[in-house]
Structure formats: C-alpha cells, structure tokens
C-alpha cells in the first residue's frame, strides 16, 4: 500500500516535472504486415494497424493528417488517417515501392521503385501519378534538398547518388559512392549530403554543389568483424552538429560529429538496426531493430539508450509527429 502510494506519487511528480512530450510514432513491421503506434509519453504501444504486404518506408504527410506507408509486395502506398488510425486510401506508386520522400510543401512525393529502376513522382493533392524518372539499378534512398531544387535517389547495385532537378525531373549529376547505398540525408543548411553504403560499410559525405565525395565516415568496433558493420538509416539533428547512423547487424547506432565526421560513440541497440526518427523536440531518437522485433529509445542529449519497446515482426521504418 505504502509502496504503491509512493510509486504513484513518484510517477505523478515525474509526469509533472517532465513537460508532456506526447508525440506519436508509427513503426512499419516488414514481416508482420502491420504498423505499430507508440505513444512517446508513456512509451507504450497504443495500437497495431493491419496494412498491406511488406510495409517498409513510412512517413507522416506534412500536414500531419496521414501516415503513408509503402507496402512493397502490394505495389502501392497506403494512407493511414491519423485521427481514426485506419487505412483510408492508396497512392499510385510503381512496382515494389520501398522508400519515399516529399517536398517541403507536402505537395509532391517521390517514390523509389526497386523493381523497375524508376523513381515515381506523385501529386499528393490529387493522389495521382505524374510520371517516372529512370535511374540506376535498384533505387532506394530518397532525399529532397532543403531548398527543394534537388531530389536525391540512391541506387543499390549501381552504387550511385543521382541528383535530379525537381523542376525538369532530369538527372543533372551522378556521384559514385561505396557499395549498396541505402539512405540519403541532407544537412539542414544544405551544405552536405550524407549517403550510407550498406555493403561498403561507410557513409559518404557529398558536396551537393560540386557533386563530389569530399569525405567518408568510417566505423570500427573492437571485437566486431568489419563485414558486420552495415550502415543504413541516418538521423541528423537540425543544427547539423550530431548525426546518428544505424549499423545494421553490428547492432549499434554510431554517434557522429557533424563537423569532423568522426564517430564519437557507439550505442548498443537491438539486433539489425534499420531506420530512425527524432521526436519533433529532438529529445529522443527512436530506432527500429529488425531482428529483435523492438524499438530502442535514445536520449539524444545524454546519448544513451533509455528504453526498449516491443513492436511487431521485423520492424523496419519509423516516423514520428504530433498526434
């Protein structure tokens, strides 16, 4: 009784002391064909939504009204209404959509279609397909530059980052990076593009103006064979000072100094870490662990893993926003 009172009291105090950061995270579970909804206040699963076959890429619409999830084996992107948490519509992607990105206004979506070497352009307002752009073999990573002028697509077997002019939809440059590039992220000021290479085991730093690789983030973990280090998802803080890189079967997230491009710390997370997203206040970073079926919560300031949340089968992508 005493204990319970004390505990309840403590919780109440904790809740009062910590400003309510009630965001909501949506996690795509590749094998489970579900999307797990997590409340970031209580760190609990509030709902599991059944979706199509093989959900991977997942992102909030800019207005927060929808969560869009690419269900690759159903060759479409499903839209989840964030109010009702139910699927309400689909988007006409090409075959086997994996990752996608949107422009700042949330009007245009660009989808990497792994199966036919194309990027599909979708009008999000009309929910209609505008066209395709031919890229390299197995397109995957997608990013739009902060000024909205350039779309980046990485192609895995071609090992390139393709620079696409968003106005003309023409490829304007191709930058060769290390093997199997999977993810691309710009610094908020547009000064650098980071591209992770899963098989190459590096993150290339690309100058977006000169279209050149200017540096590489390399990883070394004592006691771990280098082949196990397979960089995938990247998360960068808004100030560009710190980046987090998911290292796949190395079961770690590397903390990288945004200026020196050196690893400052490795955080042990779950097995086969894939992708990540920050809470909008950047206090927490959530990463998906594909093999251990959970999500690790990282305290960004403390650079520590503070919690693990069980989700569905083989979690892959994650997106977080205001509920």
């Amino acid at each position: 009784m005493w204990r319970r009172c004390l505990l309840t009291g403590m919780f109440a105090w904790l809740a009062a002391a910590a400003p309510a950061s009630a965001f909501v995270a949506y996690v795509s579970n590749e094998k489970g064909n579900t999307v797990t909804v997590i409340d970031t206040d209580s760190w609990t699963v509030t709902k599991t939504i059944k979706v199509g076959q093989r959900p991977r890429g997942i992102e909030f619409s800019r207005d927060g009204k929808f969560v869009m999830v690419a269900v690759g084996d159903d060759d479409t992107i499903q839209m989840i209404d964030t109010k009702t948490q139910e699927i309400v519509d689909t988007l006409p992607s090409g075959p086997d959509p994996e990752l996608f990105t949107q422009d700042a206004a949330g009007k245009t979506m660009y989808v990497a279609n792994e199966n036919d070497n194309t990027v599909t352009v979708i009008d999000l307002e009309k929910r209609a397909r505008l066209g395709d752009i031919q890229v390299g073999v197995e397109p995957e990573g997608m990013a739009v530059s902060p000024d909205g002028k350039i779309l980046i697509n990485t192609s895995e077997t071609t090992s390139m980052a393709h620079f696409i002019d968003t106005a003309t939809r023409q490829i304007v440059a191709n930058v060769l990076v290390d093997s199997r590039p999977r993810f691309a992220a710009f610094k908020r000021d547009g000064s650098e593009l980071w591209v992770s290479s899963e098989i190459g085991g590096t993150v290339s730093i690309v100058d977006p103006v000169k279209h050149e690789v200017t540096g590489k983030v390399t990883f070394e973990i004592p006691g771990l064979r280098s082949e196990a280090i397979q960089p995938v998802g990247i998360g960068m803080t808004k100030d560009g000072k710190t980046a987090f890189v998911a290292l796949g079967p190395a079961n770690r997230v590397a903390v990288v100094d945004g200026a020196t491009h050196k690893v400052t710390k490795y955080l042990l997370v779950g097995q086969r870490v894939w992708h990540m997203d920050f809470t909008p206040d950047e206090k927490y970073l959530l990463v998906t662990n594909g093999v251990s079926n959970d999500v690790s919560v990282i305290d960004v300031a403390a650079q520590k893993v503070i919690k693990t949340i069980q989700v569905g089968e083989l979690p892959w992508g994650i997106t977080i926003a205001q509920p």
């Binding site: 070497n117 066209g131 390299g136 073999v137 197995e138 071609t158 023409q170 060769l176 093997s179 082949e227």
Partner: protein, 393 residues
C-alpha cells in the same frame, strides 16, 4: 503518355551524352562448354542458357550504371564441344575481349589459362569447383568466382554440427568428382567435429535417368541400400554425377534427413533465396530470362558484375587499371549475400557465404554463428591461407 514523354526525354539525354563522347567499350567474353548434363530430378535440369543468362543480366545491370559513366559493356559468347580445341577458341576470343568468363571443366580451364598466360587476359572461373585449381594448379590469370568443394562441404558441416547432427553416414558415388566431394566432406567432418560412422559407395552401373516405371524399383532399392547402418544422425551424400543422391530422401531404411548432393544442399545460389535484397535480382532475372536463377547463373552474374564494379570504380576502360583494382585491397562486390564479397589474395578465390537450400527454401546461410576467424569469418569456409598449396605465378 507522360511516361512515354519522360522516357523520350531520358533517351534523348542519353543520346546527347553519347554524342558528346563515344562511350568506353568493355568487351567481355563467355566461354562455355556445349552440352548439358542430365540430372535425376527433372525440375533441376539446366536450361540451354544456364550461366550465360546470368552474365547477360549483369551486362544489363552494368550498362544501366554505365550510361551514367559513359561506359558500355558488350558480351561475346562462345560454346566449345569436348572435341574442339579449347585453347584455340580462347585465344581467338582473347583477340577482342579483355576478360573471359569461363564455364569449363578443370583441365580445359588450365589449358586456356596456360594458352593465354602472356596476354593479360583475365579469366573468371564460374564453372569449376575443383580445389586443385586454387591450390597446386592455381594460375595468376584466373579469378575463381565459383566456390570450391571444400567451401561447400565446410558450409554444410558447420550447419550440421550447429544442429548437433554430428554422426554422419557418408555415401559416395563411384566417379572421380564424387570421390573429390567425399574427400571434402571427410575433411569438413574432421575440421568441425563431426564423425563419419560408416562409409558406403554407390556404384554407377549405368542406366537411364528417365524411365516410365522407375519409382517402384527405386523404392525397393534405397531402403535396402541404407539398412543395417550404425546409429547415425544424417546421411551425407556425395554424388556430383547425379546417379543416386536424389533417390535417397524419404527412402532411407532409418528415418534420417539427407544432406550433401540431395536434401539440404550447399550452394552459391537458390531460386528461393529472398534475403538481403535478393528478391530484386530474382525478379530482374525472371523478367529477362523467363525462368528461375540457378547457382551457375549467379556465379556468372557475379563475375560480370565484378568486371563492371571495377570498371566503374576506376572509371577506366584500361584493362590493366581495372585488373589492378580487381586484385587490389579495395575491391569488393555486393551480391545479395548480406556481406561484401572479396578476393583471397593468395589464390584469387572469391570469399562468399554459402546458402543451404532444399530446393524449396533456403534453410540457413553459412558461415554459422560462432565459427570465428582472425581475418574474415568467410575464411572458415574452404582451404585457408596457412594451408594453401598455391604459389601464384
């Protein structure tokens, strides 16, 4: 309509680029042997274009990348019969290609390697799994993309030992290559702590692989052949000649699983493999060739991709530069195996994980967890540097 328009724009763009400078052309040869071996299982019967179909897909992939780098890959295919002069065919081919992907038996490959010794032509062996080609008979101008018998045997042994199926009944065929595979399996058993409780030989007395009344007889033969064995966990069959192994599953006297040449088979590729992005290449292959991808197709794909990868990385059409990169410390290739593949610099064998598949599913991938190595866990498969008999020259 829109798609067509964009396609046209893309095309015209490529055309303008091409006008700006002629693409660098890279000619790749494919030297295969004519004739197809007969398999026990009808569904395992190789297609006429087994192997070359994989090379063709890789050339397409290389050209997709190549259009961004102004490089163009061209495949030149030759098939030789047993009666043909293979050295002459190779020399003719080497007149206009810098790399030759070979699907040849060991002796023919050695003839070709020695005939081309002073030409600088790089041979990529995709068909011969003989260890001797990487050991006492190794050649400096041959890169081995196919895994070796010892790599395959070790991959299987690691899994069987992990599964605690350590007592093996080894049944080998009576042909030379069956004996070589049995040697590799014996070596693997010793290395990884399995015990061969008994060995039996299945004599090939000739006979057709297709008959109208076959099953009845086989159903009587196989239990009898496997009866009165000492206690064992798994029957391991060495039958590269396709004489008996596929008859064993479900027909052994004792109810035991079968592995090796039938049942759980170690292989570089399986049409069922879908991990690590493999679905993409399976789909591309199916679209191009209207059939599923075999291990030989994958080995040929990997060989042609290795040439493409080294050409892209060096951004050069100079075969000397490309070959130097291919054999250098920075070379690696991605081949849907969950890890980068690299070359063993003491005999130019490609390090690679080995799939264990039963024809319908991939059961596991070796090296197994816990088999450690100071350089690369992939070197727990096959003959390692300290044991090698290869002196490259």
């Amino acid at each position: 309509m829109f798609r067509w328009l964009i396609g046209t724009i893309a095309l015209s763009m490529v055309a303008t680029q091409a006008l700006a400078a002629d693409p660098v052309e890279i000619h790749v040869g494919y030297l295969g042997h004519a004739g197809i071996k007969s398999t026990l299982s009808l569904v395992e019967q190789p297609a006429d274009n087994d192997g070359i179909a994989g090379a063709r897909l890789a050339i397409e992939d290389n050209n997709t990348t190549g259009k961004f780098l102004n490089q163009r890959f061209i495949l030149d295919e030759i098939r030789v019969k047993d009666s043909d002069d293979v050295a002459k065919a190779a020399t003719d081919l080497a007149g206009h290609v810098d790399y030759i992907i070979t699907d040849l038996p060991a002796d023919a490959l050695l003839k070709v390697a020695d005939a081309l010794r002073d030409r600088g032509t790089v041979l990529l062996n995709v068909g011969a799994i003989d260890d001797r080609l990487r050991e006492q008979d190794c050649r400096a101008n041959v890169i081995h993309v196919a895994p070796t018998r010892t790599m395959l045997a070790d991959a299987l042994a690691q899994y069987l030992v992990w599964k605690q199926w350590k007592r093996w009944l080894l049944v080998s065929g009576s042909h030379d290559q069956d004996k070589l595979y049995a040697d590799a399996l014996r070596r693997a058993a010793t290395r990884f702590g399995a015990k061969i409780v008994q060995e039996r030989t299945f004599e090939d007395t000739g006979g057709a692989r297709r008959t109208d009344s076959g099953v009845t007889l086989i159903q009587r033969q196989m239990p009898v052949f496997t009866q009165q064995a000492p206690a064992y966990d798994v029957l391991v069959a060495a039958d590269e000649s396709e004489v008996f192994a596929d008859y064993l599953p479900y027909r052994t006297w004792d109810p035991r699983p079968v592995a090796g040449s039938a049942g759980l088979v170690p292989t570089s590729w399986s049409a069922a493999h879908d991990q690590w992005g493999a679905v993409q290449i399976q789909n591309r292959f199916m679209k191009l060739n209207m059939r599923r991808m075999t291990a030989l197709d994958m080995q040929a794909w990997t060989a042609a991709r290795m040439i493409g990868e080294a050409t892209a990385r060096t951004n050069s059409g100079d075969p000397k530069k490309v070959t130097a990169f291919l054999k250098g410390p920075d070379f690696s290739v991605a081949a849907f195996k969950g890890t980068r593949l690299t070359l063993r610099d003491w005999n130019w064998q490609l390090r690679q994980p080995i799939l264990l598949a039963d024809g319908r599913m991939v059961v596991s991938v070796s090296p197994q967890e816990g088999f450690l190595h100071q350089v690369s866990e992939l070197d727990t498969l096959g003959v390692d540097r300290p044991e090698t008999k290869c002196k490259l020259q």
